[in-house]
Amino acid sequence: MIEKALKGNRAYWAWIALLIVVIAAGLNAWAVQLDTGLGVTGMGRDISWGIYIAQFTFLVGVAASAVMVVLPYYLHNRREFARIVIVGEFLAVSAAVMCMLFILADLGKPQRVLNVLRYPTPNSMVFWDVVVLNGYLLLNLVGGWTVLGAERKGVAPPSWVRPLIYLSIPWAFSIHTVTAFLYAGMPGRHLWLTAVLAPRFLASAFAAGTAILILISFILRKTAGFDAGDEARKKLTVLAAYAGIANFFLLGMEFFTAFYSNVPAHMHSLQHLYFGLHGHGQFVPLMWLSLLGGIASVIVLLVPALRSRSSWLVAACVGLVASIWIDKGIGLVIGGFLPTPLEEIVQYVPTLTEMTVTAGIWAIGLLLLTMLLKVAVAVKTES
């Protein structure tokens, strides 16, 4: 089937070439980082994770959101998702691959990464994250590929694949729950030390991931003449809207608990992010952009007169994805380190090398996604 990814028009090859250039730049930057050390990034002793881990966190959510099409299609037999379910599964595969690459890029000793498996440590959440992410990648790849292969041959998918697909549903929840546990179990990091972190991760993931699916469906319609259908998009729009509401509701809960209780440790990180603390507020404009842009996008998704127009729908989806990307990446991961355990505020600015590595990994993910979707579209349009 893979040969179908090797046939395409000029625009397709131009896109592939562009991605390969970005990948090459990313690999080059990674080589610099390997050679000199992570000191070439903007990370430091106080803010010891940066945009790599931020992308990782965001993308685990994108991967998990495949469940928003898999669940209704396979469990509730909603036929309107028939053409988009494979897009969801392949999006999950590419996002999971990017997650692993971002972890690898963040390691000080990437050559020792297999130590995680050589010395399995069940009390470490990283161990579980590695297990569930790899499992999820396999489930989606095997599930999606097998069903697609059967479709190409015009036969029913083999019976063993259904249980795997069913298993991928709770598994999707598990990957993002475990990812939240990476953060939520740390004493002294009060932005993370909250029971609603996992629910909020799921809500924001389902909002952003679903919005990305809608956007991909538009792109496929435009570039490949493959339409997932208005019905599917309509359903996804509603799902994204409600997931977005849940996300902002949970954010509101964080604000209430912190500020009504008036406990300084609970307030400090939020104060720093949204209002500035001790005269420092590096992220204040971005956080308000995220908050207001996100709420505006959700409103557009909720109002039928607006969301039924493609241009508004696309704008709202882009807005929601950007809002959650800022909130979950910059706000949560980097903001979580501030104030430091010694009550100080420091700055974090990603370096060019760091951003090039990041772009390179995104390009690898997009290349993989492009090729997988190319195969899927070819099979679907032929059958």
Binding site: T36, G37, L38, G39, T41, G42, M43, G44, R45, D46, S48, W49, I103, D106, L107, G108, K109, P110, R112, V113, N115, V116, R118, Y119, T121, N123, S124, M125, V126, F127, V130, L182, Y183, G185, M186, P187, G188, R189, A265, G336, F337, T340, P341, L342, E343, E344, V346
Partner: protein, 258 residues
């Protein structure tokens, strides 16, 4: 005078601190963030050591850095001269940084800004070892939280997990930044985490930690917390002491007299 002040504080019952102590289950009766020894080591195992440290901040001179220098020399700690790539095992913080959850209202004016030595607490319930995915950082039988630099993958989870900022990462190759190389202690590579090791290499030779030995004011007492007859235990039972962020349940092995 000291006794009077303490007496007064207790009677006045500094509310917030008492609340935190009670919440942590450490200290339901007393008003200060004092350590209740019975809650400390969980199950003291007879004959097994738990190394601990008591720092008397009153005898620690502002501006003096002798312990820091001694430690960093002994352990080949690099000095990059900038905050981002900084590596440090022991350093001085201000009182309100070291004890951010302690009350600062109406305290002795000289208390705020007083220099307090900060280092790894060798917690009895260390969140850093819990987070490590490879057991590259682990608790030894003598209570020291140690590092295996050859196993560490540099994921920096321990740094995120430590609520005291005790850990440093080698963002760059440390070797060029070591001013005086000590042949008796290994250097590290870039890409791994490091921190205070309570001078386990000196303890093995029957020596006190480098910081203790080098302190001109004799401000640091080191000893076995599990030995009721040790000097440190005697001092702990006689003095009001504090641990950093006791409300987090990490059970630090480093104590402070304020």
């Amino acid at each position: 005078m000291k006794q009077d002040r303490r007496e007064f504080l207790r009677k006045a019952g500094i509310g917030a601190l008492a609340g935190i102590g009670a919440l942590a289950g450490l200290n339901p009766l007393s008003a200060l963030e004092k350590t209740d020894m019975s809650a400390l080591s969980g199950k003291p195992v007879p004959g097994r050591t738990r190394w601990g440290m008591l720092i008397d901040t009153r005898s620690c001179t502002d501006g003096c850095r002798q312990c820091v220098t001694a430690c960093h020399r002994a352990h080949n700690v690099p000095d990059f001269g900038d905050r981002k790539n900084e590596v440090k095992w022991i350093w001085k913080s201000r009182y309100e940084q070291a004890f951010p959850t302690s009350g600062t209202q109406f305290q002795k004016p000289e208390l705020l800004g007083r220099e307090v030595l900060t280092l790894c607490n060798h917690c009895a319930e260390p969140p850093c070892t819990r987070a490590c995915p490879t057991q590259a950082t682990f608790k030894r039988r003598d209570g020291i939280v140690a590092m295996d630099y050859h196993r560490c993958i540099g994921c920096r989870f321990c740094m995120a997990a430590c609520p005291y900022g005790s850990r440093s990462f080698n963002w760059l190759d440390p070797r060029p930044a070591i001013s005086e190389y000590n042949r008796e202690f290994p250097t590290r590579e870039r890409g791994v985490v490091e921190k205070c090791n309570f001078c386990s290499e000196r303890l093995a030779r029957g020596l006190q930690p480098a910081c203790v030995e080098s302190c001109p004011g004799k401000a640091i007492t080191f000893g076995d917390l599990n030995d009721p007859g040790s000097t440190i235990r005697r001092m702990l039972s006689e003095q009001e002491t504090m641990q950093r962020k006791p409300e987090l349940g990490t059970l630090p092995s480093v104590f402070y007299i304020i």
